[in-house]
């Protein structure tokens, strides 16, 4: 791992140097030894600032831990582990900084940073903080910067080490409103018999997850709850045949405005919200088709890994001027008689140039029994189904959530006992 080390003068250091230059100039021009003494005395701290700051960063090992996925507007916990491998010297006031970058954009401001007040020789300290990406996309954590201005704050020593890591940020999930819930939960015409559960209990056992308000208390797994110190419930895969086909028509004009881009983001947020809701509650068999600059579809069940794949795709999906809904649909094998078809679109249903599935003039072309709904972003119908997240509420939710600490915390770690990175995390 190659390190880039450099030392630079801080603003305070420049002020200090200017005063020093003034004194040296006065000493030389006026031939005053006492000014020379003062200048020499002032040079000492400057020199040792440079030396100590540089020395403080030697033999430091840093590990970054961050989840591989997240949602726009939601905080991600980021952990940094700093180990001082020197034998007899502490490091003070070390700042570890990350500058996640989305594509060619400039790094986000403020940077993701943690502060290690003191790392004793041979000690490992852990600091965690939260990072709140504002937009979806693929974020690169390229360089990990370690810096210190110890002891006087005049000179900053900085080390940059490559720590490549990628985080995919899916669109921000919003809130499904009552209109949507009512519509999606309504059983299909004459299809009640087809929605019988075929597994035991509420479905086949899928896994354990944290208990949330609204979950049945019947399926709380007490042994796991006692072990983990929080309520844990059994999760079952819903075997009902209620199907939801969700097509996204991500259209954008040739010369888009900011409003056009925003409409695309709202559509994607809606998709993410529905997907999360569907996979969390596990009520539907879900098919999602995306049409934008390209077209693709995913069949989702609670147990399938396709959800993460879809979220990754949503993180980077680009709209297009001619979205091919037909292609997104063709990848679907079919919709059951009780299924629902929703097209969320950034344009109106009858707008020209739309490449609908073959024979789908209005809703006639859809399979029999299909409930069809066209949701145009910005329309009153859409507004009655979906609401974007409030930024403040999201922040409050982050603060309240125990798994996503907003504050950074430091704790010492026994190097021998520090375990590997979380399964969904990465290290640098």
């Amino acid at each position: 791992m190659s390190l880039h080390r450099h030392v630079r003068m801080c603003r305070e250091g420049w002020y200090y140097t200017i005063v020093l230059g003034f004194i040296v100039g006065g000493a030389v021009l006026r031939e005053v030894n006492l000014l020379f003494v003062l200048a020499a005395v002032m040079m000492g701290p400057l020199f040792f600032s440079w030396r100590l700051a540089r020395h403080s960063l030697e033999s430091l090992r840093i590990t970054r831990r961050i989840p591989r996925r997240g949602y726009a507007g939601h905080a991600l916990p980021v952990e940094y582990e700093l180990t001082n491998e020197r034998q007899g010297a502490s490091s003070w006031g070390v700042v570890v900084r990350d500058a996640p970058r989305r594509g060619p954009e400039r790094p986000a401001e403020p940077p993701v940073a943690v502060f290690f007040p003191h790392v004793a020789p041979g000690q490992t300290c852990l600091e965690s903080t939260s990072w709140r990406p504002l937009r979806r996309g693929r974020y690169q954590f390229a360089t990990l910067t370690t810096s210190t201005r110890f002891p006087f704050g005049l000179v900053e020593a900085r080390q940059e080490r490559p720590g490549p890591h990628e985080v995919l940020i899916a669109p921000a999930p919003g809130r499904l409103l009552r209109d949507w819930t009512r519509w999606s939960d309504r059983p299909g015409d004459g299809s009640e018999s087809a929605s019988q559960r075929r597994g035991q209990r509420e479905g086949d056992y899928y896994g354990l997850r944290e208990w949330r308000p609204g979950d049945s208390r019947r399926w709380i797994h007490w042994r796991s709850s006692a072990r983990q110190g929080r309520l844990t419930t059994l999760q079952f895969e819903d075997q009902r045949r209620d199907e939801l086909v969700l097509l996204a028509d991500l259209w954008i004009p040739q010369q888009p405005t900011t409003a056009d881009w925003e409409r695309v983001e709202v559509a994607l947020s809606f998709l993410v919200t529905v997907v999360l809701d569907a996979t969390r509650v596990a009520r539907h068999a879900l098919y999602v088709g995306l049409a934008g600059s390209s077209a693709r579809g995913w069949s989702l069940t609670a147990s399938s890994g396709a959800r993460d794949e879809l979220l990754d795709a949503l993180a980077e999906w680009q709209p297009g001027p001619q979205p091919d809904l037909a292609a997104a649909w063709q990848r679907r094998s079919g919709v059951g008689p009780s299924g629902r078809l929703v097209v969320v679109s950034t344009r109106a249903l009858h707008q020209g140039g739309m490449n609908l599935p073959p024979g789908s003039e209005a809703s006639r072309g859809w399979p029999a029994g299909t409930h069809f709904r066209w949701l145009e972003v910005g329309s009153p119908e859409m507004a009655s189904c979906f609401a974007l997240p409030d930024a403040n509420r999201a922040a409050e939710a982050d603060l309240a959530a125990p798994s996503a600490p907003a504050d950074s915390t430091t704790r010492s770690v026994d190097p021998a006992r520090s375990g590997p990175a979380p399964a969904n995390g990465g290290e640098a």
């Binding site: 305070e12 002020y15 005063v19 003034f22 004194i23 006065g26 006026r30 031939e31 005053v32 030894n33 006492l34 000014l35 020379f36 003494v37 003062l38 200048a39 020499a40 005395v41 040079m43 000492g44 701290p45 020199f47 040792f48 100590l52 034998q87 502490s90 003070w92 006031g93 700042v95 940073a113 943690v114 502060f115 007040p117 003191h118 004793a120 903080t129 201005r149 110890f150 002891p151 006087f152 704050g153 005049l154 504050d407 950074s408």
Partner: protein, 792 residues
């Protein structure tokens, strides 16, 4: 206490210290006093209680007013006071900031303003106290910088700044400050002395107080009235040492430092002495060789308004005596030939030699230089004539008194030496005269001060006594002159020098004696036989000896302080190009230059190489220093390797060691536990080892033998010892030993082993022979077994 509170306190202390330094530079105590009151008030009422806080607009208006006032002040004053105006502006701004609500910006501004105050103080202050306070300032400033760093970084990066600050301080973030402080001092010294002063003659600076000079004057006036106040100001420091080995020379009595020589008592102005007519000057003569009483004197003369130099007479030139030092042959007075105003403003150092000290005391004679050839006879006679000039009409009372004294002593017709001694004793021991600096008594108007002194009040100081004696001697046709200089001083045991102050100024008399008269004096240690001399007479009573008592701590403290001040002014304040060359470059570079010149001479190389080889062989390799250096080098290399490749090297060494250990174990299993200590028995086991038989560690030799006997048949174990010998004279090969013979030989060896090993007895010669035979049997048996492919 929070970090911020600590920072506030340190900044208050820094502000106070900065203004104290400024006050020292300005010679003004008002500024430090104002800050001494204002800064704690700000700390309590603004930072602590929050009662008094200037808001931003008000503070800006106040700052603008301060700047405006300063600009007016700046334009109105001269260059020196312009600096004062800037200093005052710094103070005003600092006061305004102190009463503002603090944030990181204000803290930093306070620190910078305080630093600028010190800069201005450094430009104005030349004293030693500045250096001491600067060290204190350095410590406080470093602490302030660290506290600011802690405050700023914690607030900027940490989500819990208070906790981060506490952790930083508790973990010893201030600890490096002490180290940095100490190393900074060393670093500063190195920087200060190593940086070349390439221009100028002095790096003293102007200072607020301007040029200060000692109060010596070449003119003596006896017409003062009132009380004369003695000045305790420093005149010079003098150290004496052996010119050969630089060992300090200790003084035992009072020393006379000759200064101006005055010959003419003014005829126009009563009581006024002046030098004789214009005198030529010349370079000092070189110091005489092989004179045991030769003593070197180094003098640091404080700034003076006259070119007169002081020394113990007679003075001679040394190789490092400045060229500026000249002397007048007629008077023997030392002078500085060139004294530009800039130089005269600072202390001046010069080295001379003298033969005027014997056993720590000043000799009373100074050669008149006639024999040395530095003065011509007519010049000396002219000087003597001047020294005989006496107008009886001006000093009737004095002349009559002199005659009366001599008459009473029966010495009217005595020689000059006796007359001079009687007259000197009159002033010293008659009890008529009183030494005093108080002239608050009525003087006779129109009367010469000396006539008044002799005839009426009999009260005066050294100049009165010396003048009276000179004139009395002249009334008796004895050539005499007045000498003004310093006498005595205070010995500083810490710095080994004599501290001469203004109140040590003195006047005495010199009488010229011919060579015959000098011989009559018979002064021990006098080396100038056959030469005329000037004889010193000191008629002033109440002389005191040099105070060399160093008992009290106060004396120690004063002496140490004076020495520190002396070093400060000499090695810090006065570090100009010349001083730097003398103190630093010459001592460091001269040996190298000489060595370089020596080594670059190719003609010397063969001889040098031979010397080097001899040195290496006989001196270096046998010297403990060589080995100490070698060990040091090894340790240094080890440390460097450890520092840069420590963990990897340790791992590699450990792995190698483990590998070697395993290999050793494989080669010699349990070797340490079973190695026998008796040679023949070891040979026995080695023989058996060749046949694949090794004694297990848990068996003793006897148990092992029993085990072997069991294997080979129990009966055979009892086999009697046998010797397999070839018949005498037989050339046939000896018969191969049987298994029983082998076991018998083995038992014999084991028994002898126990006997030798545990009873500490030695083997008799025949026993040794038997053992050898037994070993031969074992060897043959083993060989036979190996050849036959059988196990033993």
């Amino acid at each position: 206490m929070t970090v911020e509170r600590r920072l506030q306190i340190v900044l208050v202390l820094l502000s106070i210290l900065g203004t104290i330094l400024l006050g020292l530079g300005e010679n003004d105590s008002l500024i430090p006093l104002a800050m001494l009151v204002a800064a704690p008030c700000a700390a309590i009422f603004t930072d602590g209680l929050g009662w008094l806080r200037l808001n931003r607009p008000l503070a800006n208006i106040a700052a603008l007013a301060a700047v405006g006032y300063t600009v007016v002040d700046f334009l109105r004053n001269g260059a020196q006071n312009q600096l004062l105006a800037i200093a005052n502006l710094l103070l005003y701004l600092q006061l305004i900031l102190l009463f503002q609500e603090k944030n990181l910006r204000v803290y930093w501004q306070l620190l910078v303003l305080s630093l600028l105050e010190v800069v201005v103080a450094a430009a104005m202050n030349l004293s030693f106290h500045f250096g001491v306070l600067l060290l204190l300032y350095l410590a406080l400033a470093l602490i302030a910088l660290v506290l600011q760093f802690v405050l700023r970084e914690s607030r900027r990066w940490s989500s819990r700044p208070e906790q981060a600050m506490t952790e930083l301080l508790k973990s010893g973030a201030l600890r490096p400050v002490y180290l940095v402080g100490l190393v900074t001092i060393v670093f500063s010294l190195a920087m200060f002395y190593a940086t070349p002063r390439i221009q100028g003659t002095s790096w003293v600076g102007s200072g607020r107080s301007g040029a200060r000079s000692v109060g010596f004057s070449r003119n003596v006036s006896l017409d003062e009235m009132g009380r004369i106040l003695e000045s305790h100001e420093l005149a010079m420091r003098v150290s004496f040492f052996d010119p050969v080995n630089n060992v300090p020379y200790l003084l035992a009595g009072q020393t006379y430092f000759r200064g101006a020589v005055l010959t003419r008592y003014s005829e126009q102005i009563a009581g006024r002495w002046s030098p004789s007519a214009r005198r030529d000057t010349m370079h000092l003569p070189w110091s005489p060789e092989r004179v045991p009483t030769l003593v070197a004197q180094e003098i640091w003369l404080e700034p003076t308004a006259t070119p007169t130099l002081f020394s113990v007479a007679p003075a001679f030139r040394l190789h490092d005596t400045p060229q500026d030092v000249v002397f007048e042959p007629k008077s023997g007075e030392l002078q500085r030939s060139y004294a530009p105003p800039l130089i005269a403003r600072q202390r001046w150092q010069y080295r001379l030699a003298t033969t005027g000290l014997l056993n720590g005391r000043s000799l009373p004679l100074i050669p008149d230089q006639l024999a040395a050839g530095t003065i011509r006879r007519q010049e000396l006679y002219a000087e003597i004539r001047d020294c005989e000039h006496f107008d009886r009409r001006r000093f009737p009372q004095l002349a009559a008194t002199a005659e009366q004294i001599l008459r009473e002593a029966g010495a009217l017709d005595a020689d000059r030496i006796r007359k001079a001694r009687i007259l000197e004793a009159h002033f010293l021991h008659s009890g008529i005269y009183t030494y005093s600096l108080d002239f608050r008594f009525p003087r006779q108007p129109g009367m010469d001060p000396i006539e008044d002194f002799i005839g009426r009040h009999h009260t005066g100081h050294c100049e009165y006594f010396a003048t009276a004696l000179v004139l009395m001697l002249r009334s008796q046709k004895i050539p005499a002159r007045l000498v003004v200089g310093y006498k005595g001083g205070e010995y500083n045991a810490v710095g080994n020098y004599l501290l001469v102050r203004q109140d040590d100024a003195h006047a005495w008399v010199e009488v010229h004696l011919e060579s015959e008269e000098v011989d009559l004096l018979n002064i021990p240690g006098w080396h100038y036989r056959g030469e005329g001399a000037w004889w010193r007479l000191d008629p002033t009573p109440a002389a005191r000896d040099i105070d060399q008592t160093t008992g009290s701590w106060r004396t120690h403290w004063d002496q140490a302080l004076d020495y520190a001040e002396f070093l400060w002014s000499d090695y810090v304040q006065g570090m100009g190009p010349e001083r730097q060359r003398q103190s630093l470059y010459d001592p460091l570079l001269t040996p190298w230059r000489e060595q370089a010149a020596h080594w670059l001479d190719i003609r010397l190389w063969p001889r040098r190489l031979a010397e080097l080889a001899r040195t290496l062989r006989f001196r270096v390799l046998s010297s403990p220093l060589y080995y100490a250096g070698l060990i040091l080098l090894v340790v240094l290399v080890g440390w460097l390797v450890h520092r840069h490749h420590g963990p990897a090297l340790r791992r590699a060494v450990w792995e190698r060691w483990q590998r070697l250990r395993l290999a050793w174990k494989r080669l010699r299993p349990r070797a340490a536990a079973t190695t026998p200590t008796v040679a023949f028995y070891r040979q026995f086991e080695d023989l058996l080892a060749k046949a694949g038989q090794r004694r297990p560690a848990h068996l003793t030799p006897r148990e092992w033998l029993d085990q072997m006997a069991t294997l080979h048949g129990s009966a055979a174990a009892d086999g009697e010892p046998v010797a397999v010998r070839a018949p005498a004279g037989s050339a046939a090969a000896p018969a191969l030993p049987s298994r029983q013979q082998f076991l018998g030989a083995a038992r014999q060896l084991v028994d002898q082993f126990y006997r030798v090993r545990y009873s500490q007895t030695s083997l008799a010669p025949d026993e040794q022979q038997e053992i050898e035979q037994a070993l031969a049997v074992v060897g043959q048996f083993v060989r036979a077994g190996r050849e036959a492919g059988m196990a033993v």
